[in-house]
Symmetry: D2
């Protein structure tokens, strides 16, 4: 099961030219050229040295995108808005990005929820994506074909599909999606609204035999009927919602209070952000889902329900920056009330992009091992890890290292 020479792996992003997607592309190019280090890449930590992960050079970039934009455009816009990375890093990689962009295909907007539609209305949409398929089945077939062709064209051993597209608004699977038998009827029907786009993509990944990872809080593979197909097919999958900033800190700090028997009275978290993700979250229903995903961490870790409040607001001037302020009110010895607060100022895309590469490498390892089902050992990467109750980062971390076979000290 060891890696052989010439073993190449596809990383296929749904939302390839978004801010995360284009950062992944630029990062792969810049790291290969030695223009930047491996900061932010968990899979590059010494503990995983012996884990036989696919080398960064063997990762081939591809993806689906609905907006009519190239990777080069996307990364330039990103830089112009927030100047997160050095311009000198972008120019030498322009040709690489153009080459990568050749593997980007038009996505589908079938089943798009209102907030996503608003965002699309403001963008030029790719012809392919505009030409909406009539039924989910048609869309699944086209998207899965794209994946198969990608594998064939590049001689890839495996493909990992990761959803980094805009967050959808409704995250509860409709009744219909619970029964496995009904799925074919839904796929054949022209009435929209039962399957959202993220689940259509997920099914395409499953049918094409790819691993699937949902980095967003959208439904995706969590729709029971879709997940059942993945289990039948034996592909590995995981989600939901990448743990990149404030929730990461929560999952590290909450255990401290728990292990010191300090009672958390209330934990208030306010998030402000300015990128497209924030814009989509301006939709109240979308935001509600995201907040739920963020809010559960504290009670899960401490084992009781403190007063918690989480807000997310779209503040355009912040561009790709996300600023979070958390206030923790806690009670110690003799009932004494004390407090702690933190402010996190991070670039959303730059925190997410390396984790996407990590997830591709870890998921590919499962494909190589022939393992299917939920990759619970990847819980530390997600705000709402599928089938995993633990929210404590360190417990999650230990699980990852043990599973992958890292040398834990």
């Amino acid at each position: 099961m060891g890696l052989t020479t010439g073993h190449r792996v596809g990383l296929w992003l749904i939302g390839a030219c978004g801010s995360i997607g284009s950062s992944v592309a630029l990062g792969l190019a810049a790291m290969r050229r030695g223009l930047c280090g491996h900061e932010g890449l968990v899979s590059q930590l010494p503990v995983f040295k012996g884990a036989d992960l696919v080398p960064l050079e063997a990762i081939v970039f591809g993806g689906h995108e609905v907006r009519d934009v190239t990777l080069v455009d996307a990364i330039q816009e990103s830089h112009a808005r927030a100047a997160l990375f050095d311009a000198d890093l972008m120019h030498p990689c322009a040709d690489d990005l153009t080459a990568m962009h050749a593997a980007v295909r038009g996505g589908s907007v079938l089943g798009a929820t209102p907030a996503v539609r608003v965002m699309l209305d403001q963008s030029a949409v790719r012809p392919q994506a505009r030409n909406i398929e009539l039924t989910p089945r048609d869309a699944v077939n086209r998207l899965a074909d794209d994946l198969r062709r990608f594998r064939a064209d590049h001689g890839l051993a495996h493909v990992v599909v990761i959803n980094v597209s805009s967050c959808e608004s409704n995250h509860e699977a409709s009744e219909a999606l619970h029964g496995r038998g009904e799925l074919d009827a839904i796929l054949a029907s022209r009435s929209e609204g039962v399957l959202t786009t993220s689940s259509i993509y997920a099914l395409a990944a499953v049918e094409a035999g790819c691993a699937y990872v949902n980095f967003t809080p959208s439904l995706g593979i969590s729709a029971p009927a879709i997940r059942a197909r993945a289990d039948e097919r034996g592909v590995p999958y995981m989600g939901c919602d990448g743990k990149t900033g404030e929730t990461l800190v929560k999952s590290v700090l909450a255990p401290m209070f728990a292990l010191r028997n300090l009672k958390v009275l209330s934990w208030v978290g306010h998030n402000i952000l300015g990128n497209r993700d924030g814009q989509v979250l301006a939709d109240a229903r979308t935001r509600a889902a995201k907040i739920k995903s963020k809010d559960s961490t504290i009670s899960d870790v401490v084992g009781y329900k403190p007063a918690t409040h989480t807000s997310i607001e779209f503040i355009p001037s912040l561009d790709d920056w996300k600023v979070a302020w958390d206030f923790i009110h806690f009670q110690g010895f003799l009932g004494t009330k004390m407090n702690m607060q933190f402010t996190w100022q991070g670039s959303d895309s730059m925190l997410a992009a390396p984790l996407v590469i990590d997830l591709a490498r870890f998921a590919e390892l499962e494909l190589r091992r022939g393992a299917g089902g939920p990759m619970k050992h990847l819980a530390c990467f997600f705000k709402s890890p599928m089938d995993v109750a633990e929210r404590d980062y360190f417990t999650q971390w230990t699980r990852l290292v043990r599973h992958v076979g890292g040398a834990m000290d």
Copy 2:
């Protein structure tokens, strides 16, 4: 080795009537009377349920104190200054505190460093403490006798001595203290300055067969010649410098950056505090030692040397509150610089006091097990744990749970 009925354990504090000491006393009384919960007590966490720790009711309070003050005075002064706990909690416990105070003996000021002397000059000093012994040997003998009498008078199975007195200024053991043979000569000599008070107390604890824990950054048992005696005598010991606030947070947050491969560029920590501890730290040499103890955590966890800066300032208006502001500058994917900052507002004594009780219970378990030497499994309680390189809180925690036999999940 299980606990038997009537098994009683002594908790002997050096600095019994200071703000930590009096909080320990009040807490023991208030918890027994059911006036407050067990917040802040690590040893009360469910994970230690089966660990056969001595019950809180079986702990007998005693200690040495040099200032001429009672436990009731001390706790009232503490409340008047900062109103950390409810006054209603203090009144019903007044008689308990008076009873506990009967077991407080005059300490020694032999070997006191300049900063401590300044503080003493501002206080009324107990007659016993004022009547300075002529040689360290005299002092050790008297202090050890106090410990033996305490054990005998209260029918105690074991006594744990914990140093919670003011921080001394010189933390490096002098040359002379490295050679084991010279110790007797030093003890017999009338020239002050080789052995500081904290080491005199530590030796008394060792000679009286007590466990010894150094909750301060003072030298105490770390003087090689003293430590050698402890090893010979086979008593368990540990230190130094209780990890209660900012450094605790550091030991929890630094691993997050390390495990996410986010490069810490700089970590600046500013501490302001207003209690007697702060006053003693106003002395530059004392502060330097404390800062060193706080500053090493980051590099130890991340494995390289970011720019670090730690300051401690005495701001009297804060009374027992310690406010710390930390700014962490870090670098992620594509070299992007981001930052995080936190402000911690905690009551120093209220964070320390429950840990002192925890340490007594864990140390007593070692006495009961017949174990001697450094209690390395208690590393998570200290800023500079003896003989332990790990500063990562979660690694330290796992060690504690495993050693004590807790039910780790």
Copy 3:
């Protein structure tokens, strides 16, 4: 118009036994007894030395209250919950508070809005207040009689009525209240909902010839028909919504950005608080009004509309503390984006109470001067000052000093 010996002035609070009201009472007693300083009292600043304000000793406390609670109970509850002030300050003043309480009368709940009703349902209500009048006219008459009797009983030269009761939810005056002629019909009608309680109190104050100050965002005297009566009667009045914490800071910081030509891109303010005020604000409609009042300051000062967002959340564990976090994103030279953030941790009642005393003294000066109408020079005390556009604290301050005749340097 100078003060004569024996000149006594009534300070009548609507909500006399709330946390602000009881703090005012305790403060008056404690300052008279020399138990505390004059911190927080603007009217005690040297600049007003020559302004002939009524001395603190000449202020007589009275008020309306609907909950069945005494001033002593109220202040004890307040202390038990948050320990803001020293208990030693409370005990010697207990008799004074009891004496003051003799002048507290049952208020009215006629016209109470839903959020206030919820709060009332959780409290014991005074018999007087429970015995609801049938029409607003009946209520106005009873309340105004209470005011007249207060003046007569204590031989008061003037009475200033200040509303410090819970915030009501609807702040827009209904259509009916715009026409002056209709007021008598509304007052006579048994159908509730047109006049809210705060306006009923305001009219009572006007009819009893008292000055009226609205320290809350409730409608009060701002209902056009009520205000018209005040103008006819020639009494001085002012409001709305005391500027005590976060908005105060905004009104001081926003001018800094304006005067340095730094462009405010966005200003986000999050408030969390735990007292009864917070509980009432948990009602969405009530909160909306409060937020509007807070949110306008920035644009008013800088002269354009940055992205602003203000939230208020009820976090019970905070008791009387209000914590506000503000994040200001601004643009400087060459378009460079920078930011500033602040956290304010203040006790709401302790910030408000002294301003209530200040307002009583400044309003009494107007009564003595025979001036009526809006006291625009008091703008610096309010979030939404009536008839005043300026939100800049320093401009407002200059206006106060000039009007009162203070010695501005």
Copy 4:
């Protein structure tokens, strides 16, 4: 005295190619080309519309520089390190900067203090500057000649000299500099150390009939003997130490506490910064002077001495960013202790550069008005304004507007 067509004014910077100097140059170019707005420029505020300030287009850039670097190099280095401004803004201005650089002359290092020398040792030094004059008189003559030639070559009506070079370490004028008569002897002497470089430049400005502004805490024109010459010569001058960030906020917030009669118990300010200024401040003596300049604001505004503590640390990873955290502990009604804290994250150069342009315009107005002596109306620009006791920003601001004849509303 109105402006005439063709009226051109020289802005001569001591330290022309430092980060402030190069930002001024880029800003002048970019504003002329309409590539950026006027953010940060106080003199562009509407209130100064009628004040007849010299237009931005009429300002001619020149200066002294000791390091062997061009303006284009400097601005590129600045951008590469911190990406504060858009690269698109830099490229179209490259030719303008090259043209401006033609008016940059080699400065003098005679009298440089140790910290400056260390910085110089790490840089290539201009041949002119390296060729050290033998006596201060020689240096003054050469520098003054440069100024006269600049005026003649560009047909300038007036020249304003502004010191934006690195901060010197000793800020107290030596005894010798107090006696006016001795100055000539000092100037003729070859023994270094009495006159520091900043005073040599100041005298050159005076002798060349230029206005002089000291934007640094260095001694400059504050040496009594130098200042006496300026008074004799009748040139306008002002300083010291530009108020750009934390101290600006202090001068705005401290009045709020004062005007609300809230007693400041302690005010702690920690500054971390990463640019050359920070590097020079790493020298303890230099830092001490800077801190003194920052620390006095609070007591000056509130009128008593709270506990204050200010620190400045050099943290290279921050590049041009300065992060300041201030904690304010204050006491309100009934002695209640509360607190406020703020974090300021600003780019030092970008905050300073526009003020340098403002100062040039305001100083030139004085030259045109024929006024000499200290320009006290410019106090709001400085941490330690000469001859002005007020530190309150708003009082200082009113003074500026009144003096300049702005339309204060």
